[in-house]
């Protein structure tokens, strides 16, 4: 449980971080360290150089701008959970952050680190996909924005190129009247979701006018359950609709299987959790 030798830098500006990252092929960015450090302790990961972003003040902020909430990559889960702005303007994200790991993890782990690590069972993506969030990727040669759906390529694999740093997550402000819920059943050792569901539901006069549903922990990457969404919109908000829609939770998804939960169980769990999350959201009005 002792990592291999590595160099350590703690730059105070993003440009310095990018320069360091570009100058060392063995370098790896360190955010909250909640995934990378354990891997290093097992020596499964042996980066030659860690570039710690913790001392860059510009990466830890929450701000409202142009109809979206911008969240700096180094904002901790606890800050996301407790931010008054996020709670008011993007409530699903704050609700989801409260479910991540435990208090210690939420105090150290960061939204940027989590999104970049792209664990297929991480909580954030379920909320961020349902909220159609975007991420900002910066390199020495420029910057680009990417939707989270395209950013998450596969398990532990993202669009991030060598020399790039994810600096911000942009979440559109919640629409008026939209109800939200996050629900998860976790594996008790790791706290990772065996099926986590983020739901946004718009209901007008008893009819569902808007639906976003995303799942994590079920497939090899978190995904939007568009078949569920389609089965909801235009229907009356109620138990029958929710149950019928939830049956599509894993349409086209090759469910994961591990010693904690078989694919069969995950498929069942996904449908149950989607239905219950929809009921939670509808009941939160």
């Amino acid at each position: 449980m002792i990592p291999a030798r590595f160099e350590y830098s703690a730059p105070e500006t993003l440009s310095e971080a990018l320069r360091l990252l570009g100058s060392d092929g063995e370098a790896k960015v360190l955010a909250g360290g909640q995934s990378l450090v354990p891997m290093m302790k097992f020596r499964l990961a042996q980066p030659g150089h860690l570039i710690d972003l913790a001392r860059i003040p510009d990466l830890n902020f929450v701000a409202e701008e142009n109809g979206a909430i911008r969240i700096g990559a180094m904002t901790t889960h606890n800050q996301v959970e407790t931010s008054a702005l996020i709670r008011e303007k993007c409530p699903l994200l704050a609700k989801t952050a409260a479910h991540i790991g435990d208090v210690q993890v939420r105090n150290r782990g960061t939204i940027g680190g989590s999104v970049v690590h792209a664990d297929p069972a991480a909580d954030y993506p379920a909320a961020l996909l349902a909220m159609e969030a975007k991420v900002k990727l910066v390199s020495a040669s420029g910057e680009r924005m990417a939707g989270l759906d395209e950013f998450l390529v596969d398990a532990l694999t993202t669009l991030l190129e060598e020399g790039e740093i994810l600096t911000e997550v942009h979440v559109p402000l919640e629409r008026a009247g939209v109800l939200t819920a996050y629900r998860t059943l976790v594996q008790p050792a790791s706290g990772f979701a065996m099926a986590g569901v983020g739901v946004r539901l718009g209901v007008e006069n008893g009819t569902i006018t808007f639906a976003r549903v995303a799942l994590t922990g079920v497939g090899s990457k978190p995904y939007r359950a568009t078949a569920v969404e389609q089965a909801l919109v235009g229907q009356g908000a109620g138990a029958e609709t929710f149950a019928a829609a939830a049956a599509h939770a894993t349409d086209g998804v090759d469910a994961l299987s591990d010693m904690h939960a078989s694919a069969e169980y995950r498929v069942n769990l996904a449908a149950v959790q989607v239905r219950r999350a929809l009921e939670d959201a509808a009941g939160s009005a």
Partner: protein
Amino acid sequence: MKLKGTYAMPAPRDEVWAALLDPAVLARTLPGCKSLQETGPDEYAMQMSLVISSVKGLFEGKVRIMDQQPPESYRIEVEGRGKIGFVNGGGAFLLKDAGDVTDIDYEGEVKVGGMIASVGQRLMDMTSKMMIKRFFTALEDEITERE
């Protein structure tokens, strides 16, 4: 861990067969393959560098191809060892004509040991699925580019 699936390769069966058993093609398409050297009839020595997220593992091992029934079926046995653990696997490939495509049915079992077995279980299934996907995608690129 058991693995099973079908990949629909958009190429005629003979061509798919040839590619699957061509060491040069395999060296280019097997994820992380650094080198593949023939050591005997249908036996190869392989070096693989596995990179998944921050995890890097260098493996050295052997590949054996058995029970060839061209252009229909064969078996493969793989054995690899590295600092982070070891992998032993065996599988059967069955190639079926399916109109414009060749269906590659694969079924096998992978056994891992050492560090990766005791700390990496949660990621095993998704990692192997990802590796298979990477392999077939690369193989498809290889076959279709050749045309």
